[in-house]
Symmetry: C2
Subunit: 530 residues, 2 copies
C-alpha cells in the first residue's frame, strides 16, 4: 500500500499542487520520504462542487443504504490491515496497542451510527393529525422530522489519528446524517489519512454512493479557513487548539451565510478530591490519577489538568503518594515536534508563576530526540490560583496542577470562576455527601460531563455520552462529538403541512414503514396513522 501524497477529489486521486509537505516521525525525529501535495485551487473547488452535487442524491438515500455504506467503510478500514496500524504508529508516536484500540473505536463508532440508522428513531418524527372540524379554524396535518444540513467540513485532529480524524466521529455522524464530507487531513498524520480516505472511497464505490460524498484534502492554513468559508459547506467539525478553533469559528459566523462550527478546543477538566475519599482511598486515587494524567502522554482533551483539594492530613498523605506514583511514570513521545515544544514551553511558563511549586516529576529524563514529554505536577494555593488566569489554560500534555483550598467556601469560589469544561469529576465517600449537592450543581453548570469516583480520560462511545461543554471547552455546548447524539450536529428540522402521504419521507408516512417511535398527537408510539 504505497502512499501517493495526493488529495481525494471525490473518487479521483489528484496531486497537481506544486507546494507540498512531508510527514514527520516523532519517535525517530525525522521527516518521512513521501511528499504530500497541498490541493490546488482547482482541486479544492472541484471537491466542493462534487460535494454539492452529491448532496442532491445522498440526502435522499435511505437510512439503510447509509448504514450499509458505514459498515462497508469498516470492512475497508480493516482490510488495510497492519499497513494502517504501522503508518499511524510511525506518524503519531503512539504505541501499537493504543492505535489498534483506536482502530477498534473508530470502527465501533461507524457501526454504532449504522445501528442508529437501522433503528431510525433519530429523525425525531412528530405528527399532529388534522382536525378539519376544529373551530374557528380547521387544523392542518403537520409532520416534522430532521433532515441533513448539507456538505460538512471535517478537520482531522492530531491526537486521535483514527477516531477523531478522517473516518472519525464527525465524519461518521455527518455521513450518517446524510451529509457529504470534505475532510481536511491533519498534517501530523497525512499518510494515515490517505490510507483511511482510500478505504472510504472504496466503500463509497462498493456501496453505490454518489461521487463527492467524500473528499479529503491536504490544505495549508489559509485554505483551511477558506474551507469553512466556502458557500457549499453548511457545518464544520473540529478538534484542536483554541486558537485554530476560534479562527474557524470566527470565519464561519462572519460568513455572508453563517454556519455552525462545532469546535472542541481546550479544557483542564477539574477533579475535586473530597476529604473522606482521600482518607478512605488516598493511595488508590493517587495511583489512578497519575495514570490518567500521563495516559497517552497526556494528549487527551479530557486530561485532568486541575485537581482541587481542601488542605488536610489526608490531603498531605495523598500528595505524598501522588509524588511517588508520578515519579515512577515514564516520559513518552508526543504527537509531533510542535506539540512537544509547546508542552516544554508551557511547563516552563507555569514554573515562573507566583506561588506555583513543582510537586512531582517523572524521575526518568525525557529524551529530546524522541520528542518525549516528562510528566509533571504543580501545586498552588487557591488565592494564587484565583490571581492568575493563565492557570486556567490547558497545557496539552502530561501535566497537572493541584490547587490547595482552605475550606468549602473557597472551594465554591474557585469552582464558580472556572471556565467551561468538557468534564468535571468529584471523588467522595458517603460521608462527604452533605457538601456534594452544591458542588455537583456548580460543576454541572461548568461542564458537559460530571463524573463520580472516576477519571475523565476514556470517553465511552454510547447514546448517553456528552462530549462537549460550555465555552471555551467547545464553541457549542449544545452539541456532542461522541455518541449517537452527535448526529444532531448535522441535522435540522423541517415540517410538512398537508403533504400527500406518497410524497412524504418514509419516516412520516401513515403506515410507519420504518416502524419507528413517533410523537403522534402528543404521545410517543409506533402506531400507524389510520
Amino acid at each position: 500500500m504505497s502512499i501517493t501524497g495526493e488529495n481525494f477529489i471525490g473518487n479521483i486521486r489528484s496531486g497537481k499542487g506544486e507546494s507540498s509537505f512531508q510527514a514527520f516521525n516523532p519517535t525517530g525525529n525525522l521527516l518521512m520520504p513521501e511528499t504530500f501535495a497541498y490541493a490546488t485551487e482547482e482541486e479544492f473547488e472541484q471537491a466542493l462542487s462534487l460535494a454539492q452535487d452529491a448532496f442532491v442524491s445522498y440526502r435522499n438515500t435511505s437510512a439503510i443504504k447509509r448504514a450499509e455504506f458505514l459498515e462497508t467503510i469498516v470492512e475497508e478500514i480493516m482490510a488495510l490491515e497492519e499497513a494502517l496500524i504501522e503508518r499511524a504508529v510511525t506518524e503519531s508516536g503512539l504505541p501499537v496497542g493504543r492505535i489498534t484500540g483506536e482502530r477498534g473505536r473508530t470502527c465501533g463508532q461507524l457501526k454504532m451510527f449504522a445501528r442508529l440508522l437501522r433503528d431510525g428513531w433519530y429523525v425525531d418524527a412528530r405528527i399532529d393529525t388534522a382536525q378539519p372540524e376544529r373551530a374557528p379554524l380547521p387544523k392542518s396535518d403537520i409532520r416534522r422530522m430532521l433532515i441533513p444540513l448539507g456538505p460538512v467540513a471535517v478537520y482531522g485532529a492530531s491526537n486521535f489519528p483514527l477516531a477523531f480524524s478522517t473516518a472519525g466521529g464527525d465524519t461518521a455522524s455527518a455521513l450518517a446524517a446524510g451529509c457529504p464530507v470534505v475532510v481536511k487531513s491533519h498534517p501530523s498524520h497525512p499518510g494515515t489519512s490517505e490510507l483511511v480516505s482510500s478505504a472510504i472511497i472504496k466503500a463509497a464505490k462498493r456501496a453505490g454512493m454518489p461521487e463527492g460524498v467524500f473528499s479529503a484534502l491536504n490544505l495549508n492554513n489559509d485554505q483551511s479557513v477558506k474551507l469553512v468559508q466556502h458557500p457549499v459547506i453548511k457545518a464544520a467539525g473540529f478538534t484542536g487548539s483554541r486558537k485554530v478553533g476560534m479562527t474557524l469559528f470566527n470565519a464561519a459566523v462572519n460568513r455572508p451565510e453563517p454556519i455552525p462550527v462545532y469546535a472542541e478546543m481546550s479544557a483542564i477538566n477539574p477533579v475535586i478530591l473530597m476529604e473522606e475519599a482521600l482518607k478512605a482511598k488516598g493511595e488508590a486515587i493517587a495511583k489512578s490519577l497519575a495514570g490518567s494524567v500521563t495516559m497517552g502522554a497526556g494528549q487527551f482533551c479530557t486530561n485532568p489538568g486541575l485537581v482541587l483539594l481542601i488542605e488536610s492530613e489526608a490531603g498531605k498523605n495523598f500528595l505524598n503518594y501522588f509524588e511517588q506514583y508520578l515519579g515512577a511514570t515514564e516520559p513518552a513521545t508526543m504527537l509531533n515536534k510542535n506539540i512537544c515544544a509547546s508542552y516544554r514551553k508551557g511547563i516552563e511558563s507555569i514554573k515562573t508563576i507566583n506561588g506555583v511549586s513543582v510537586l512531582a516529576e517523572a524521575t526518568k529524563a525525557a529524551v529530546e530526540e524522541r520528542n518525549e514529554s516528562k510528566p509533571i505536577a504543580f501545586t498552588v494555593s487557591a488565592e494564587d490560583f484565583l490571581l492568575n488566569r493563565q492557570l486556567n489554560e490547558e497545557v496539552f500534555g502530561p501535566a497537572t496542577l493541584f490547587v490547595l483550598v482552605k475550606d468549602t467556601v473557597q472551594l465554591h469560589l474557585v469552582l464558580n470562576q472556572l471556565e467551561g469544561q468538557l468534564t468535571a469529576t468529584v471523588h467522595a465517600e458517603p460521608e462527604d455527601k452533605g457538601n456534594l449537592i452544591a458542588i455537583i450543581d456548580i460543576i454541572t453548570q461548568k461542564s458537559g460531563r460530571v463524573l463520580y469516583n472516576g477519571f475523565p480520560t476514556g470517553v465511552e462511545v454510547c447514546h448517553s455520552m456528552q462530549h462537549g461543554g460550555p465555552f471555551p471547552s467547545t464553541t457549542d455546548g449544545r452539541s456532542t462529538s461522541v455518541g449517537t447524539a452527535a448526529i444532531y450536529r448535522f441535522l435540522r428540522p423541517v415540517s410538512y403541512q398537508d403533504i400527500p402521504d406518497e410524497l412524504l419521507p418514509e419516516a412520516l408516512q401513515n403506515a410507519n414503514p420504518l416502524n419507528i417511535l413517533r410523537l403522534i398527537d402528543g404521545s410517543w408510539k409506533t402506531d400507524l396513522i389510520p
Copy 2:
C-alpha cells in the same frame, strides 16, 4: 390599570432614567400620553444580576413547579381583562378580534409548555447501564439529559404584541426550560408589554419563583446590543428585521464567550402554483391567496411575498381572478409609522425595477393619517427576477410578486437560487405529481416548513411545527420559535457518569419517578433501572 412607564427590575418597578419615549397610536396617528423611561445602567445591571442569582434556584425547580408558574401567568394575563386588549389594539392598530385571538394563542402556548413540563420527556433522558465485567475495560454507568442554558434575553416583536412579545413563545419556552428571562420590551407596544410584565411578576410571586426569574426593560438601540453582549446572558431570541437581527447575532457570536442568537428575520415564503391546480381551482386559490397576502396588513413573517407559476392559459385566468380579489381588499393600519413608511418606500422601489409591472392594487385608497398600507401585487418574468437580487428581499406588508416562469427547467432554476425561507408552498393536483417530487425536494432544502395546497400564514402551535428555516430566514435553521420543540433553544445536554442515584436529577434516577420515556441501553422505555 394605570401605565407607569417603568421597568421591571425583578419584582420592583423602577423608572429612574431621565431619557424616555412615548407610545404611538397608529390608527389615530398620535403619541400616547404616558412616558416610558429607558433603563439606567444601574437598573440594567441590577436586572441582569438578579437573573443570574435567580438561575441558581430556578434551574433546580421541578418541571411541575415551572408548569404551575406558566399556568399562573395565564391566569394573570386573563385577569388583565379588557384593559390588555384595549391597550394592545391602540398601540398596534390591529383589530380587537385579532388581538383577542392572539391573547388566546399566547395563553395556549404557555399552557402547551406547562403540559410538556408535566409530560417530562422533553429532557431526552438516555441511560447506558454499567458493565463492570466488560473486557478490556469495565463500562461506567452513564446518564444524559438536557439542562437549562442560563439567563435568556428575549426581544419582543412588533407584529405579535402578545404571542411573540413579552410573554410570547421565547419567554414561554425559556421559562419552561428553567432559564430566567430578561425581556427587551418593544417600543411599538410598551404599555402592552408593561401590562403583561406585571402579570408575569404577579404570577412569579404567587408561584414562589425567585426574584429575577423575569425582568422587562425599556432599552434604546445601544442598550439592546449591550443586553446580548452581557456575560450573564447565555442565549437570545429575536423576531424582527434582518438588520437588527444580524446586529444582535454579530454582537453575540463575537463576544469573548459566544452565545446562540435565535433571530427570525425575513422571508418571502414562495408559493408555487402548478398548472393542474390552476386549472382545477384557480379562482379559489386566487381568493385565498389575496386573503393570505393581506391578512393583518401583511405583517406576518410567513406572508407569501413570492408566487411562481408557469405561463399558461390557466395562469392567465388565475391572474385575472387575483386582480379582482386583491382589488377588493381593504387598506389597513400598519403597526407603526416606521413600518408604514418602509412599506411605501419598498413598494416604490420595486416599481422602478426593470421588468416589474403592477398586476393589481386595492381599489380603495390608503389613508396616510391612519398609517394605512394599500395591498399591491407585481409581476415579473423569471429572467428579470433572476437578474435582480433585490426582488428576493422581503417588503414587510401586504405586497406580493408573481414570477412568470417559462417551463419546469426555469422553475427549478428560480427555486434553486432562492435564499432560505420560513416556508415554501406548492399548490397541485394529482396530475401534477410527476413534477412534484423534484420541486418538493428543492423547496425542502430552502425552507423550514413545506405546505401543500395551503397558505403559510397561520402557524399552528404544536409539537410538529417548525417555524424557522435556513439563513437568512433565521440565524439558526436548527431551531424553531413555535411549538414544543422551541424548548430545545434553551437547553444543553449533560452526562452523569457513575453518579449515586440520590444525587442524580429525578429524570435519570433508577426508579424513574417522573415516569418518562428514556433511552435505556438503546431502547426507548419507561422501565425502572433495577
